[in-house]
């Protein structure tokens, strides 16, 4: 018989060797890529500072160094995150942090730019603080998820934690007026710390779906019952997952976050398809979704209005369709090369710093900028799937696919909403839209993806 060498367990490195920067494995690629968001921050801030000043820029009238504080702060935070990653996960993917850094520096620049015009001068500083916090949380996540089986083994715990958090918020929610932007904000203390737990629910759901599908993948892929021409999966194996999906959807629809419901359902579909490889599941689920969506649109007048706006926004440009029409005008005003950072009027659009950040960016950076922004998101998704392909086991692969799908779905849903291709929903554009909860949740996702791409433990 052939005698193939069986790999033996390599000698275990000492604890201390993990905490040192290995010169050969230094993340040079990441360092080089991080120079670009740094340059973007500096140039963007410089433009913001001089664009409305009347003095000609010469070597003597340069803006004071203090004014570059936000840029320096962000660059320092990215640099520190880079150094810590070298220690914590030296072999992990080197493009994820630069992409996230680039997108969040766009977010900080836009918040700095929009703040004064929206009458909130601290908007940029707050967004910068959220990014720095997010980078910290990202590194902590990379460190804390060293033992991935802990995520898998406690999948029900994670999910229930997520659902309970959102549930508490739902019960305590006091403003149920139809047009408040988000009704699921959990406020801890008197306005000290406001958080949107539904952002964390997404991550909890990915952990649960990935863990559950990993356990039951073979059962779901094999068909056991045949009803006429259809082959059904063993229902008892699909049951718990569908039940959890149902609970999550009911809660989310309860707080009327239809965008989030769309996101959760899309997540479920993509993971189910990836795990089972059976298009039949997707077709059946989409049919169920069509029925559910129809029900939602007939029950909630709020949802129905949003749907009608897709076709008739321009017939009500001054009331219901105001926001979306202004957003489209904003895009159009940008043209191909944009009005230039600081030279447009993006604040005319309601929610120009959150839901309509894409139209603000589109107005000032033009079609060229929006194309680059979409390109960045596509690369983020590509790198996420790259992590999935190279992951060690099925659970890691499903986690990576699910987390990537969260980015992809959010981007598509909000960009399509801004461009009047889908009903407008309040999903934040990852990393770019103003908002602490969403930023921190997205950085947690980047942290988990970094951990999944780190092969040597």
């Amino acid at each position: 018989m052939s005698t193939a060498p069986v790999p033996t367990a390599s000698a275990r490195p000492s604890i201390w060797s993990n905490l040192r920067i290995d010169r050969r494995h230094y993340r040079w690629t990441e360092l080089w890529l991080l120079l670009l968001p740094a340059a973007f921050m500096l140039l963007g801030l410089f433009e913001l500072l001089i664009v409305h000043s009347n003095t000609t820029v010469t070597s003597t009238t340069l803006p004071p160094l203090d004014a570059f504080g936000p840029a320096i702060g962000l660059i320092a935070a990215l640099g520190i995150a880079h150094i810590l990653l070298n220690i914590v996960a030296p072999d992990s993917d080197q493009t994820l942090l630069p992409i996230a850094g680039m997108l969040s520096s766009i977010g900080v620049i836009m918040a700095l730019r929009l703040g004064p015009d929206l009458g909130v001068d601290s908007l940029g500083a707050k967004q910068l603080l959220f990014v720095i916090l997010g980078l910290g949380v990202c590194i902590v996540t990379v460190r804390a998820t060293r033992n991935l089986s802990r995520l898998r083994d406690f999948k029900y715990t994670w999910l229930i934690a997520g659902i309970v958090l959102v549930g508490i918020t739902l019960v305590r929610a006091h403003s149920f007026s139809t047009n408040a932007p988000s009704r699921d904000v959990l406020t801890i203390g008197p306005g000290l710390l406001a958080f949107q737990p539904s952002e964390l629910l997404k991550i909890c759901l990915v952990i649960f779906f990935a863990g559950y599908l990993d356990e039951n993948r073979e059962m779901l892929a094999s068909s056991h019952y045949k009803v006429g021409p259809f082959t059904l999966p063993p229902l008892k194996h699909l049951g718990p997952m569908v039940a959890m999906l149902g609970i999550a959807l009911v809660i989310v629809v309860g707080v009327r976050e239809l965008g989030l419901a769309l996101l959760i359902f899309g997540l479920f579909l993509s993971l189910l398809y990836v795990a089972s490889g059976r298009p039949a599941y997707v077709v059946v689920s989409l049919l169920i979704f069509a029925v559910g969506a129809y029900a939602a649109f007939s029950i909630f007048p709020y949802a129905n209005t949003r749907l009608q706006l897709v076709t008739n926004a321009f017939s009500v440009p001054n009331d219901a369709g105001y926001q979306i029409v202004q957003g489209l005008i904003s895009f159009a005003h940008g043209g191909i090369f944009g009005s230039g950072l600081g030279l447009g009027k993006p604040w005319i659009v309601p929610e120009s710093n959150t839901d309509f950040i894409a139209s603000s960016f589109g107005e000032e950076f033009g079609f060229a900028g929006i194309l680059a922004l979409i390109g960045l998101f596509m690369l983020l998704v590509y790198r996420g799937l790259h992590v999935a392909v190279r992951a060690r086991d099925t659970f890691s692969q499903l986690m990576a696919v699910g987390l990537t799908a969260v980015f992809a779905l959010q981007t598509v849903v909000i960009l399509a909403g801004n461009l009047k291709l889908l009903p407008l929903t309040g999903v934040p554009l990852p990393f770019v839209a103003y908002g602490g909860s969403s930023l921190i949740a997205n950085f947690i996702i980047i942290g988990i993806l970094l951990r999944l791409s780190q092969h040597k433990v």
Binding site: N54, T56, V57
Partner: protein, 156 residues
């Protein structure tokens, strides 16, 4: 404001250029990753060492394709159940029918108390028996031939 027009124009071009530069650089890194991944052996071979192959000689009443090749891992199970390494979809096979082990640099076949028995070279397997390349393994009405690893793709 007018006086700064050229500086502002340069900054506007620069900002968009940086965005595209990021994209170009990341695409370049991805291309390099792909080249490295093609050069290196797939990571799965390290996780699950393949010690040989089973070639389907006679597919019997199953959907297996004669001539198709299954990798033998240090522990390989054959049977009708979906959790086996090699699933033989026939009523002649038990849910857990046969197990192949790699021990002491040799492959061993053992029967898992199957109803119809496991046969190596037409002899029924009662205790654990060693097999060599070329041996014929019969599970239900399916027959496999043991093939060595040497010279096969995926081997090291």
């Amino acid at each position: 404001m007018e006086s700064n027009a050229i500086v502002v124009l340069a900054l506007r071009v620069g900002l968009v250029a940086i965005l595209y530069l990021v994209i170009l650089q990341i695409v370049a890194v991805s291309r390099r990753d792909m080249r490295l991944a093609n050069a290196a052996p797939p990571a799965t071979t390290a996780a699950r060492p393949v010690v040989g192959y089973l070639v389907v000689v006679d597919s019997g009443s199953t959907h297996l394709v004669p001539g198709s090749r299954f990798p033998i891992e240090p522990i390989t199970t054959i049977g009708r159940g979906p959790t086996n390494s090699i699933v033989v979809d026939t009523t002649f096979a038990s849910t857990e029918h046969t197990r192949i082990l790699f021990r002491d640099q040799s492959l061993w076949v053992e029967d898992m108390d199957s109803r119809n028995g496991t046969f190596v070279d037409q002899r029924q397997v009662t205790t654990r028996v060693a097999v060599t390349p070329g041996s014929i393994l019969q599970v239900g009405d399916v027959r496999f031939k043991f093939a060595p690893l040497d010279g096969q793709k995926g081997g090291r």
